[in-house]
């Protein structure tokens, strides 16, 4: 069964969702929890069966789909994707378990299960088109979740979310088609004059492109990814999406969906275009700085607690981007770890915002104040997550943030110094928000008798708190597999780099080159 | 010389007639001018040796088509002056003239006649009708049959559209009403 565990992981929730249609709406929640729990167990099983020492892809599956055009159903998982998959399964589980919306629960749970399919699919796909399928498909359930259960501006927010990402990914699709075409060109057999179409990412890895081609393709992929991440200035959909989405939507959006973009950078942009990555390193780093500082400042100005968390997500994504473009093992490992960390922490923060929203039906911070005395447990968990978000050592976020910044320091001291202000500006808006909500006297009558977090909410929050601290103290089980896979990526990049600049920027880990590269010389002749 | 005189004469006549046909505000004038123009065109056919075509032109157009139009005109009662509001005449005439000028600019140059082979050459000594028949019933047998189908289609179309059955629309009548009418044995269908 482990041979097909990835397919099972993808399609089990979808099948279950289909069956969900016939389940009575009173028992749908139990059904949803059961399904997502099974999925989570499967994901854990995947981890269990995963060989941490291996840096390459594992559990590969291959089914021809459109072989004549090089599109095949190829799956595989490595250290980079493994934990995001587990995270996705985990968040779906606790998302459903802590679901508080009562309107159309059945539709919601079915949608969530479909969403889970797409999320897992994105991270295990090793064929660009299969990746693209899940990437795009993930928009639909999210569109529905935001649009059907969201706030007053929900339609605007959901449509904006959808179209913005959709537009970006179409540009990316063009890039993918170019990539496949270049592969075709490179593999043209001089005897027959016929090449091989392939959208398999691992095939693409073996392709060395001339620098100017890399630049253009990098840009095409970049647009798709940057909007998803979202990077400044493509970020404006996010505050609306978060602001309007129901709690569960925000949680999954922040925890998993945003990670697709950064994951894709590591899966596509870096190994495919090492020279372009080096070329664009500094512009992107500057964007990352803007994301970090600018959005942190905007977060500080917010009046709505959910918007604070939303903008904080962008700020953190900036650090992730920075770590990714450190192009060394420390930075990339850090950024992947930070993806997971940010998933856990921001997911938890959105859940926490949801807790208070359920009670008061407002998210404006001015409505609160002094909650620490009314809801001490809530305040404590919120405080913990806040500190994690701020990047306090021994919380999960610190490991990622530290490694990301450490990694980038090798590339540029100045930029890291500026980016490092993340820890300052992050503290500013988070503490300010916490102060507004939890400190001071309870002034608003409505807040006087708010119940503290209940069991259902704790079911979601306690595990998250435990993970937050556990992985902050002992990140090794996760860091190690990530590290191994990242090392092979970095080595691949180093080997593929053609410019001296790139060769010197990307460290050589001095390992044996496993694969023989196919060098393209004929690509120039294509146009 | 004769050919030239004939060409210019009939050119003048057809152009005039057709011009009247599209500009006059009297529907009757238009119809008459059109019919006249058609007949003048058949003159060209005769000049060019396409006797069969000339005959068909007179029979079909001046005979059938014009008659149809005449009936139509009576039906629509358009014999009176037709008031047609014109927007910007300049655009209409301008575009027409421009189109003509543009094409004429191209047509002013002679065609390079190389490599042109008459696939169905006219045979010396055979009448035009004979030639036409020969080609029509070999090479163009299929289009001929399709044209027959087309005429059938046109006929059915004309009958259906002008038929009485179109007067009461089932599309606009509610189903209950239709049932009722059918039950009352009123002839609807």
């Amino acid at each position: 069964m482990l041979d097909h565990i990835l397919s099972i992981l993808i399609f089990f929730p979808a099948l279950a969702a289909m069956f969900g249609f016939v389940i009575h709406k009173d028992s749908i929640r139990a059904y949803g929890i059961a399904v997502s729990a099974i999925e989570f167990v499967l994901a854990l099983w995947l981890w269990f069966g995963f060989d941490s020492a291996v840096s390459g892809m594992q559990f590969m599956e291959f089914i021809p789909l459109i072989p004549s055009f090089g599109i095949n159903y190829i799956l595989g998982v490595d250290g980079i994707s493994l934990f995001i998959i587990i995270l996705a399964a985990f968040f779906t589980l606790i998302g459903i378990a802590s679901l508080t919306d009562t309107k159309n629960v059945k539709n919601m749970i079915i949608t969530l299960l479909f969403l889970q399919m797409t999320m897992v699919g994105v991270f295990v796909a090793l064929d660009a088109i299969v990746f693209y399928i899940f990437w795009e498909l993930s928009l639909v359930p999210m569109l529905y979740i935001i649009g059907a259960w969201g706030g007053p501006l929900r339609i605007y927010a959901s449509v904006k979310f959808f179209l913005y990402t959709f537009a970006g990914s179409l540009v990316m699709l063009v890039g993918m088609l170019f990539m496949a075409y270049f592969y075709y060109q490179a593999t043209i057999d001089p005897m027959t004059g016929v090449g091989v179409w392939s959208f398999a990412i691992l095939d693409w890895y073996r392709l060395i492109l001339p620098e100017n081609f890399q630049l253009w393709l990098f840009a095409a992929f970049f647009i798709g990814f940057a909007i998803k991440v979202p990077m400044f200035p493509f970020h404006t959909w996010l505050p609306y999406a978060h602001g309007q989405a129901p709690t569960i939507g925000s949680v999954i959006l922040a925890a998993i969906l945003l990670k697709m973009g950064t994951y894709a950078f590591i899966r596509f942009s870096l190994p495919l275009f090492p020279d372009a990555s080096v070329y664009f390193m500094f512009p992107i780093a500057i964007i990352a700085i803007v994301m970090i500082i600018y959005t942190a400042m905007v977060a500080y100005a917010q009046e709505d607690i959910k918007q604070v968390v939303a903008y904080s997500s962008i700020s953190h994504m900036g650090v992730i981007i920075l770590g990714t473009f450190a192009l060394n093992v420390e930075g990339i490992t850090g950024s992947i770890f930070l993806m997971i960390a940010h998933g856990v922490v921001s997911g938890a923060l959105f859940l926490l915002v949801g807790v208070i929203y359920d009670r008061r039906h407002t998210k404006m911070m001015s409505e609160f104040g002094g909650l620490a005395s009314v809801m001490p447990r809530y305040a404590t968990i919120f405080g913990l997550m806040l500190m994690a978000s701020v990047g306090l050592p021994l919380t999960i976020n610190f490991v990622g943030e530290f490694l990301s910044l450490l990694g980038f320091y090798q590339q540029s001291h100045m930029i890291t110094l500026i980016a490092g202000t993340a820890i300052i500006v992050g503290a500013i808006y988070m503490l300010a928000a916490y102060k507004k909500m939890f400190f001071g006297e309870v002034t608003n009558e409505k807040n006087k008798n708010l119940p503290d977090v209940n069991k259902r909410e704790l079911v979601a929050l306690i595990p998250l708190s435990i993970i937050t601290i556990w992985l902050g103290i002992y990140p090794k089980p996760i860091l190690e597999p990530i590290n191994n896979s990242v090392e092979s990526v970095v080595q691949l990049m180093h080997d593929k780099a053609i410019t001296d600049e790139a060769k010197s920027r990307i460290p050589n880990l001095i390992k044996e080159v496993e694969e023989v590269e196919i060098s393209i010389t004929s690509v120039e002749g294509a146009h | 010389m004769f050919e030239a005189i004939a060409f210019y004469l009939f050119s003048f006549l057809t152009i005039t007639m057709f011009f009247i046909a599209v500009t006059t505000s009297q529907a009757l004038y238009a119809l008459t001018a059109l019919a006249a123009g058609m007949i003048f065109i058949s003159a060209f056919f005769f000049i060019l040796g396409a006797d069969f075509l000339g005959a068909i032109q007179i029979v079909v157009y001046s005979g059938a088509v014009m008659a149809l139009y005449a009936f139509g005109m009576m039906f629509f009662d358009t014999t009176r002056d037709v008031k047609e509001k014109q927007g910007n005449k300049f655009i209409v005439v301008g575009m027409g003239v421009l189109a003509a000028v543009l094409v004429v600019v191209i047509f002013a140059a002679p065609i390079v006649g190389d490599n042109i082979v008459a696939l169905y050459p006219m045979t010396e000594g055979a009448g035009n009708t004979q030639e036409v028949g020969m080609v029509l019933f070999t090479k163009y047998l299929v289009p001929f049959e399709v044209a027959a189908v087309m005429l059938l289609v046109a006929m059915i179309a004309g009958i259906v559209l002008a038929g009485k059955k179109m007067d009461i629309s089932l599309t606009l009548t509610s189903d209950d009403k239709i049932e009722e009418d059918e039950n009352n044995k009123k002839v609807l269908l």
Binding site: - | A4, F7, F18, A21, V22, A27, A30, G37, I41, F44, L48, G49, A50, F52, L53, I56, Q57, V60, Y61, A64, V65, Y69, G72, F75, F76, T78, V82, E84, V92, V93, M95, G96, V97, A100, V103, V104, F107, A108, A109, P110, I111, I116, A118, L119, Y120, N128, V135, L136, Y140, P143, A147, L151, A154, A157, G158, I159, L161, A162, M166, D167
Partner: protein
């Protein structure tokens, strides 16, 4: 003064242009149909001329079928006009603007 193929082509063009003007300026549908007849007829002249100058019968064939087509169009066109006229009592195309935008 030899009358060449180009003469006929130019004549055909002029008649075609007249037809176009008619198509554009006529608001009465019946008269508009007249203009479309002119279009087809103008082409027929050219076909016959080319056929003549090349000594090839295909042109005449084409003209023959064009006439057939023109005749069929009249039938369908008049049918449509009749239906419209029955409902609206006019055949003015200015009244046909229920769908737009």
């Amino acid at each position: 003064m030899e009358i060449g193929l180009n003469h006929y082509l130019v004549l055909s063009t002029i008649l075609f242009a007249i037809g176009l003007i008619g198509v554009m300026r006529r608001k009465n549908l019946l008269l508009l149909f007249f203009a479309t007849e002119i279009l087809l007829n103008s082409v027929n002249i050219a076909f016959a001329a080319i056929s003549h100058y090349y000594g090839d019968l295909t042109g005449q064939m084409f003209a023959f079928f064009v006439i057939a087509i023109a005749a069929s169009e009249v039938a369908v066109g008049l049918g449509l006009l009749i239906v419209w006229h029955k409902r609206h009592g006019n055949i003015d195309l200015e009244t046909m603007t229920s769908m737009r935008g």
